[in-house]
């Protein structure tokens, strides 16, 4: 798929991947063998009829293709861009055994973009109104899926969001150059057109307790995602110039810091930036820092490249854009000047030992290997704890030791009557498509309950 060349894109916030033309999409789709037993489908957490939609693209029936996609996935434009296809659908594609797998994600994205360009939007049929009221808390992918499914089933759906814009991580976390804000807005607008009521600036548990919500709604879904960022618990983490990934990305994405000083939320344009961590979030921070004009951007990761949890595509993109990788490196100390600004980071070199519970080889510090790097910013991207607001204000809700909400595996029902949950708040940090899968499962159980109850 065509991309902006690295030397250009590393300094702008426009989308990196430019998308297929119609000819390219048809050509790629024609490679699909339309397998009788499509292995690719087993790899998709929401079981999209992959050969089905690809067949339609190959036949130039783009409208049909999107219909097939939407049967299972209400956010194809998002998933086509950010799903880890290389470990889900594409890795199982039979063509991948010998050569290149079919580019399922890119085709999915193509179909969604094609539809967005059509002047007429085909609206799905909404079932007769049931008079039942549903509250969806959190407007990330999990919440969006539940809202979409239950509005079509004829219920009255209100989606509450704490921030001033909906979309969850899709809006405040994943940067513009990977997932443009307009794509997310389009999906939210579509939900609103279907009749979902959206209430932003509303923190359930604070503005109104969950218990009181239950007086007004027949069923509630909790899709509240991530909470407080983790830090490394090393000296110097409160120095100026040290950020959590969430702060950094929120300033730039949600608060439009990339347009500062046209906007008012300041983003400091640091020259030398170290990002700690090895996931998608770390890649996003590093590439954002680059786009804000940094001279040198480093990823500091304590294991080796083999263990890097980020998507391969994102690692390659980052490397092409000039991000420098320090593998097997662990920050030990952040050192500041007298005004509290970060100056240097001290790191140790690591080696890999025996595998740990996660099956990955455990990094072990090499004594005496400490070294320092001059840095004026350090972004800590090592994860978040689950969002605590609702559990901490709702004693009846069962949570795990880690703070995730405990649910029944087959229905995503919580310990509380009429309350379901799904997405990162249940699993801890996962993926967009898994959050959607959880939302779908919960929506099914909620629908069953709503139809049974008086």
């Amino acid at each position: 798929m065509p991309k902006q060349p690295p030397y250009i894109r590393r300094r702008n916030f426009n989308e990196v991947a430019l998308g297929y033309t119609e000819e390219m999409a048809v050509e790629e789709a024609s490679r699909c063998l339309d397998c009788k037993k499509p292995l690719c489908v087993d790899g998709c957490p929401v079981e999209i009829n992959i050969p089905g939609f690809i067949r339609e693209i190959a036949r130039n029936n783009f409208a049909e293709a999107i219909k097939v996609l939407k049967e299972k996935n209400c956010l194809p434009a998002v998933c086509g861009r950010v799903c880890p296809q290389e470990e889900q659908c594409e890795i199982r594609c039979i063509l991948g055994k010998k050569g290149e797998p079919v580019a399922v994600g890119r085709l999915e994205r193509f179909a969604a973009e094609w539809q967005a360009l059509q002047s007429e939007m085909v609206m799905p049929v909404i079932k007769e109104k049931t008079g039942k009221k549903v509250a969806v808390i959190g407007s990330g992918p999990a919440g969006i899926t539940v809202a979409g499914d239950l509005i079509l089933a004829g219920h009255d759906v209100t989606m509450f969001e704490a921030l001033h814009e909906p979309g969850g991580v899709l809006t405040y976390g994943i940067p513009e150059f990977r997932l443009p804000g307009k794509v997310v807005n389009r999906e939210i607008n579509y939900l609103c057109k279907l009749g979902v009521k959206l209430v932003c600036n509303y923190v359930v548990g604070k503005t109104k307790s969950l218990k009181k919500m239950l007086d007004e709604y027949d069923a509630v879904f909790l899709g509240t995602g991530a909470g407080l960022p983790w830090f490394m618990e090393i000296p110097g983490e409160n120095l100026n110039g040290v950020y959590s990934a969430n702060e950094y990305l929120t300033r730039v994405n949600l608060m439009r810091g990339f347009m500062y000083p046209k906007t008012y939320t300041p983003v400091i344009r640091h020259k030398r930036v170290a990002v700690v961590g090895g996931g998608n979030v770390a890649m996003d921070c590093a590439r954002t820092a680059m786009r804000l004009g940094a001279e040198e951007v480093y990823i500091v990761y304590r294991r080796s490249q083999t263990e890097l949890p980020a998507r391969l595509e994102e690692f390659e993109n980052a490397e092409e854009e000039g991000v420098i990788f320090h593998f097997l490196t662990l920050p030990e100390k952040l050192i500041g000047d007298e005004n509290g600004w970060l100056q240097e980071i001290e790191c140790s070199k690591m080696e890999l030992g025996e595998p740990d519970q996660s099956g990955r080889r455990r990094p072990i510090r090499i004594d005496g290997s400490e070294f320092r790097m001059k840095m004026d910013a350090c972004i800590v991207a090592i994860g978040n704890s689950p969002n605590p607001i609702i559990p901490s204000t709702t004693k009846e809700l069962e949570v795990s030791k880690k703070g995730t909400i405990v649910v029944d595996e087959s229905t995503n029902k919580t310990s509380m009557d009429r309350v379901w949950a799904g997405g990162d708040i249940v699993t801890g940090a996962a993926t967009v498509i898994l959050a959607m899968g959880a939302g779908r499962k919960a929506a099914r159980a909620m629908q069953e309950y709503l139809m049974k109850s008086q």
Binding site: V203, L228, E237, N238, N246, E247, M255, T263, Y264, I268
Partner: protein, 276 residues
Amino acid sequence: MFEIIERKMIVPNLHLLVVHAPDIVDEIQPGQFVIIHAGEGSERIPLSAADWNHEDGTLTIVFMEVGTSTGKLAMLKPGDFIPTVVGPLGKPTEIENFGTVVCIGGCFGIASIFPTVKALKEKGNTVITIVEGRSKNLLYWEKKLADYSDKLINITRDGSYGYKGHVNKAEDIIRETGIKPDRIIANGCMTLSYKTTQEYSHYNVPVMVMLNTIMIDGTGMCGVCRCTVDGRMRFACVDGPEFDGRLVDWEELAKRRKQYVGEEAFLVHHSGCGGI
């Protein structure tokens, strides 16, 4: 959308804002704050609740015009709408029958301490309220506070009204009258919080001060409001904003507050409290 019912300058540089926010008013308690975002391009800024009315669902805020976002708020007129008022956020101030409580307010804190004063009085405490400003023309809400205080002490730095001095002056007065406070609570700028902690620590009772850190989401997601209290990393928006000042790492806090000073395009206007 939230409708502005009233906006007026009450003393130089301090504005009163009354906004219609019935859901927030339903739940709000003393010591909590809201986050306001005046629309695309603005910052999300935390402002404390200074009063509220359950009947008409209005929330009162008193804010100091210091920069871009507060500057925008200062231009609002009744009938205007702002897109974001979210809350109530933060932990409420602990309200118990403590005995004798000294409540201290400076600049916007003269207003934001009011709900605490009122609630403490209603719980049966003896409430000594101290308000402090540079000059007489910067003090306000005297009657409102006096109505719920056993004693109201005014202090001005230039001596134009009440006693002359800083918050430490009030400590002299309290010591002289032989009052033994069971708790100190202060609202206002960082300097006031810091000075209060210094002056009142010797009583060996909690000195609860509001920390006004930089914030973005205010819901415990971004981590920008972190501070060190009792040797631990805490987040002012969810663990605070009130902490026992005796346990706060003030030096670190002061440095963190200055993070964006060089970046802000607009002038800093201090109302003379020497605040940070």
